[in-house]
Amino acid sequence: METALMIKKARQGDREILVQLIMKQKEDYYKLAYVYMKNPDDAMDALEEMIVIVYDNIHRLRKEEAFYSWSKTILVNCCKKMLRKKKKLVSMEGVREQVDTSPFAHKEAQIVLEQYLSHLNPKQKEAIILRYYLDLDYQGIADILKIPVGTVKSRISIGLRNLKKSMGGAQFE
């Protein structure tokens, strides 16, 4: 079924179609939740919370073509809300629990980088993670975070500059 038609049906309250709509971009949704929550358990909880909110509010969605960015914004907000509850920092530590075949020294570099990332301004860090870890473009990030594209660009470039400064430059120049 065509996406536009599916969104129409979902707006009329078809739960199964809504699930299928999300599953069409399951990779994007799951990974977006994962970079915030850092583990599969919490990522899945955030996704569950998101689909319920989307279902409750889909009749308010004016522009049907905005479904994906709108629902992803909801997902990000769910993640942030859960993180606030857990008082967890949005650090990327969890990812290194994956099996890592990269050489020893390289693994260290990543861990060090993550430590510096966690000291960055949270908004700059968020933009950098979405840009580099999820490979989203500026417009995509702007849509999800509901901020102008210019702001996304400046957060990323200032964030990278700060990151470079705080890491002393020498080792990572």
Partner: protein
């Protein structure tokens, strides 16, 4: 700048490889089902309502079996349950299974029930012989819990045999299975001399009866010890047990010490967990060294429900150190006192007899020379044995261990080459844990 972007890019590759769990679709659907119909969308006509009622009736019908078992407690396990598990069992926690498999020789394996929380999966099972006494040589003491992606090895197990020796009841602890595991199999083999009969009992995990956790937080606490700084990273308390995890050395520190030949190998870390001023029962510990560094785990009993104060006590740490020191020795009685790695070791007497050389030394009880050679006229000789062990308690409570080391061969010039030694140091450092 390029290098930072490169590292960020590598992270992206890692994230790209993270698989989307198969259960995502089911979880999303059931989240919506739990939510019920959106009240703002009033579309459901009477047909839908009837359908919903029918489905509900079906669902309740299927659940009836489970409901009947719910709240039933496991019998006969009291003497191997600790107080915490007994309480949980009394209040009907856990999932009843009651599935049986009979082996060819008539031995019956019954999985009575399980308890699941975020720290562990406990399996309560019975092995019974209907014809007479059990042959314990045939019973495998290490069952395996098999899931979709991996086999969960048993961490610990306790059993009790009845008076007639016809039946044994076990409680075995496994790592908590991954969140997506739904069906598990308890695999148990019976037999000896390679003629094993391996059978399994499969069951469905009921996550609704899992007990989750009562406290889960990051600790961010550390304590300095001679060798390193100990980091206490996390605490995870569940209704059955409490696990504290931490780090002794990061991969970088480990690599550095390896290069500098200053490595230490941990023997034992003794930690107490004190809740509301009372020490919790210690249940076990683990230490491991791998590419993630040197990490540890300490297991204690469950936390009390009215928790208002939580403390850790770092009691002592024992480890083995590289020493690489050579000491010249004189024959006969000597009073040579040495400070090695801050530990006093006295050389007392060196004598020869029947082609052997004997060296008497004394030190505090925990000090052990783990790799030591005697150099006789320039030739390195390995330690044969340690004899004549004597322990003297000093007025201050320390215990001095005096023993004699025997080496094969005699000569004119003697040196003691200590390569490695281990010792324990008492710290008794109290660390407060704020409860969030």
């Amino acid at each position: 700048m390029n290098n930072i972007e490169e590292i960020l890019g590598q992270k992206k590759n890692e994230i790209e490889q993270i698989p989307v769990p198969d259960e995502m679709e089911v979880r999303l659907r059931s989240a919506l089902e739990k939510r019920g119909t959106n009240p703002r969308i009033r579309q459901a006509n009477w047909k839908v309502k009837v359908a919903v009622l029918c489905i509900l009736a079906l669902v309740i019908g299927w659940q009836a079996d489970t409901l009947a078992y719910y709240g039933k407690k496991l019998l006969g396990y009291d003497s191997i349950m600790n107080g915490t598990l007994q309480e949980l069992n009394e209040s009907g926690k856990g999932q009843s299974i009651n599935k049986t498999y009979t082996y060819k020789d008539g031995t019956i394996l019954t999985l009575d029930g399980i308890m699941l929380d975020d720290n562990q999966l406990l399996a309560y099972y019975t092995i019974k012989n209907s014809h007479g006494k059990l042959d314990f040589d045939k019973i495998s003491l290490a069952p395996v819990m098999k899931g979709i992606v991996k086999e969960y090895m048993m961490n610990s197990s306790q059993g009790i045999i009845n008076e007639k020796e016809t039946e044994v009841k076990y409680i075995a602890s496994f790592d908590s299975p991954y969140f997506f595991e739904k069906h598990l199999q308890l695999v148990c083999s019976l037999g000896k001399n390679g003629a094993d009969e391996t059978r399994s009992i499969s069951f469905k995990l009921d996550r609704n009866q899992a007990m989750g956790h009562t406290l889960k937080q990051k600790l961010h606490k550390s304590a300095q010890i001679d060798e390193t700084e100990i980091y206490f990273d996390t605490i995870m308390a569940t209704p059955t047990t409490t696990i504290i995890k931490g780090t002794l050395q990061s991969p970088l520190e480990l690599a550095r010490d390896q290069i500098l030949d200053k490595r230490f190998r941990p023997n034992e870390l003794t930690v107490e967990l004190i809740a509301n001023g009372k020490k919790l029962d210690w249940q076990g510990a683990g230490l491991s060294t791998n590419v993630d560094g040197m990490t540890f785990e300490q297991r204690f009993d469950a936390l009390p429900s009215n928790l208002n104060d939580l403390k850790l006590n770092l009691v002592s740490f024992s480890s083995e150190h590289d020493v690489h020191q050579v000491f010249a020795l004189a024959k006969g009685d000597m009073k040579q006192s040495n400070q090695i790695k801050g530990q006093q070791i006295d050389f007392k007497k060196l004598y020869t007899s029947e082609g052997n050389t004997y060296l008497t030394i004394s030190s505090e009880e925990s000090v052990i020379l783990t790799k030591v050679y005697l150099i006789i006229d320039g030739e390195k000789v390995s330690l044969e044995e340690t004899i004549q062990n004597e322990y003297d308690k000093q007025p201050d409570g320390t215990i001095i261990h005096t023993r004699t080391l025997r080496f094969t061969g005699t000569g004119q010039e003697y040196q003691l080459d200590i390569r490695r030694m281990s010792y324990s140091k008492t710290y008794n450092k109290i660390i407060d844990i704020p409860i969030k």
